[in-house]
Symmetry: C2
Subunit: 200 residues, 2 copies
């Protein structure tokens, strides 16, 4: 079986933009497959009183500047600081759950982040979401309807519970076995760790 | 004039152990000189309600594991999780201010961190500090006396004010001109930034 790295992510995390833009190339160079696992980092952060930016303008300002520099470093396009925070009802993330079950999670998440960062089209906003789904060849009404079902809410909650049990507290987090690597800036560490394990 | 990177740091920051262990080699490979600038990140973090680990056991546990892995990655020795937090009166840091004025800040800070991480000798603790100063060829009584003077307290506060005005909120932070880079994991970004500037 090929090596696999789990990517736990939350649409709305800022640095996750860098990860969704570069993880597939970085992993495929090492013949590692990525399993995309949306979860509610917001729920876990609230439980842990982990508030990285709200009410912290100095740290927030730095984050955007750092993200812009890191984007340039990795060849990821960056236009300007987009609307933030986003997806109050976590609809964008629940659509990602649908997409993860149906096999189109990477393209949906990448398209969502590009629309957000490059065109300021806010994730999960019903003003933009249907058109984005149509672009991806999906039926907006069916997809959004499904994202609002209890089944998908339960799946989202159970993936969040898996994350919680792994000790995940931020997005993105890469998981290899029981080792977790938090942050886009740990992607290389995670890939190196995954590579160094014996093949299963 | 040679390129210079300012290193704002606080003895007591955990990841700063990695930085003090590797910054000189990393910088000298690029002919960059490092100016060591101790400051009270604790004061700034309190002002900004920035509490990274206290009351956050999940994040704290991850931090130590990540630090251990990063140490291995960089060839920095790591024994076990040392006593934490440390230096409640910031004496270790005020001694660093004395050392920075007198030209022995790198060796003092490196020795302090090694004693802390490898022998669990807590920074600033009067049980260990005099012997450490003697090892460095310094008079403990004179040095500690000076670290407790108003002059040194003022210098420490004024360096903290410089950091505050630069938008610094964590340790270590690397500064090149008006660009700040937070975290040991931004050392390479800071060095590349510094290299790419025209020589002054």
């Amino acid at each position: 079986m090929a090596r696999q790295l789990d990517l736990f992510f939350f649409i709305g995390s800022t640095y996750t933009y860098l990860t969704v833009s570069r993880v597939q190339d970085a992993a495929s160079r090492e013949s590692i497959s990525i399993r995309w696992r949306p979860f509610s980092v917001r729920t876990i952060m609230a439980e842990q009183n982990n508030v990285p930016f709200r009410g912290k303008p100095v740290k927030m300002k730095y984050m955007w500047r750092d993200l812009e520099r890191r984007a340039r470093r990795h060849g990821v396009p960056f236009e300007s600081i987009p609307h933030y925070p986003v997806d109050p009802d976590e609809l964008a993330n629940r659509v990602a759950v649908v997409a993860s079950l149906d096999g189109w999670c990477p393209e949906y998440t990448i398209a969502t982040y590009r629309a957000w960062f490059l065109e300021n089209k806010v994730p999960g906003d019903l003003q933009y979401l249907p058109a984005l789904l149509i672009q991806l060849g999906r039926d907006p009404e069916v997809t959004i309807g499904r994202a609002n079902t209890q089944e998908i809410r339960d799946r989202y909650a159970s993936e969040t519970q898996v994350a919680r049990e792994l000790g995940i507290f931020g997005s993105p987090t890469f998981v290899s076995g029981s080792e977790i690597f938090w942050g886009d800036d740990r992607l290389e560490d995670a890939i190196d760790w995954c590579r160094s394990k014996p093949e299963r």
